[in-house]
Symmetry: C2
Subunit: 188 residues, 2 copies
């Protein structure tokens, strides 16, 4: 433990991951003590990095949004120069997350829990504005972008509403949405 706390960036990462896991499974009411135990870090170590429980939850939210930006960038094909390249990265990254998730219920519970913490909704609104600016430069009609984004979010949550989903169904929906990013005008 002492070893781990000598590397601040690594301690921070360990605490953020532990907090996200615990909030997903137990809700936003989880204590600093429980998070410290899960991370294998002292309570003092957690508070050194994040000041308060709400400060830590806010950092978890910012970290999840940032991780998703990075996942989208990683999912954009380097050789893809056509309109809609960013949206294709977004669709691929979103479905990758769903494929990897053990439980869509826990992911949604995580978001539902953190959004109540002061500052989180504001961070989410800023992130939405950031995505809008990026998509404005992606070359597709805004109506098409909105529909594909909404359908992507809906496909990610469908497994929760429908009592599970098969890999085949998900992959079909993903490929359908990717195909729709290949046209640029409004969808009809």
């Amino acid at each position: 433990m002492a070893e781990r706390e000598r590397d601040p960036a690594r301690t921070r990462r360990t605490v953020l991951d532990a907090a996200a896991r615990l909030v997903a499974s137990k809700g936003a009411g989880v204590s600093i003590d429980a998070i410290a135990r899960e991370a294998g870090v002292s309570k003092g170590g957690v508070l050194h990095h994040f000041q308060s429980r709400d400060g830590l939850i806010l950092a978890v939210a910012e970290d999840l949004l940032e991780q998703f930006h990075q996942a989208v960038q990683a999912a954009v094909e380097p050789t893809d120069r056509a309109e809609g390249r960013l949206l294709r990265g977004y669709v691929r990254a979103s479905f990758n997350e769903v494929f990897e998730e053990a439980s869509p219920a826990e992911q949604v519970a995580l978001v539902a829990a953190v959004v109540k913490v002061p500052g989180v909704a504001e961070v989410m609104r800023k992130d939405k504005t950031r995505w809008q600016a990026y998509f404005a430069d992606d070359g597709l009609d805004p109506q098409r972008v909105t529909l594909i984004l909404r359908a992507t979010d809906g496909a990610a949550i469908a497994g929760l509403y429908e009592g599970g989903h098969t890999h085949t169904e998900l992959a079909q929906t993903r490929d359908l949405l990717l195909a729709l990013t290949r046209e640029t005008g409004p969808m009809h």
Copy 2:
């Protein structure tokens, strides 16, 4: 209280509504005692109707699905005889729910909580099959139906991911989706 318990259908309704409210705000771990208190019904009265806590949560899930079927039927315009009439009802009913919700986080937390209870996922899968059968008779290409359903679910959850949404944004997305139910072939 005694008065209320003389009307079994009304007691059942009161308990289901109280259970849905409590599970949404406090999670699936909520006790029969707490639900009985919230409903203003004796614990014996609750157990008379639902046998067990899990039995009650399963009944809440079945009731929510049934209420949504009724809301969709009510949102189908009686004079609408064109292809896609059921899907238009579905889109309208879904957005009505979002407009009426105090908190999308609580609605999603409710689903995430109940889906862990034995039997609920199975009930949801059967309900999905029921919708598929209905939409097969609605006259639209299945690809179009899937996209519009996914985008509708995504729009309902977007307020959670984006730190809130305005009535104007929601109404625009609803009207866009309704317009897309007016064509019958695959979307492109």
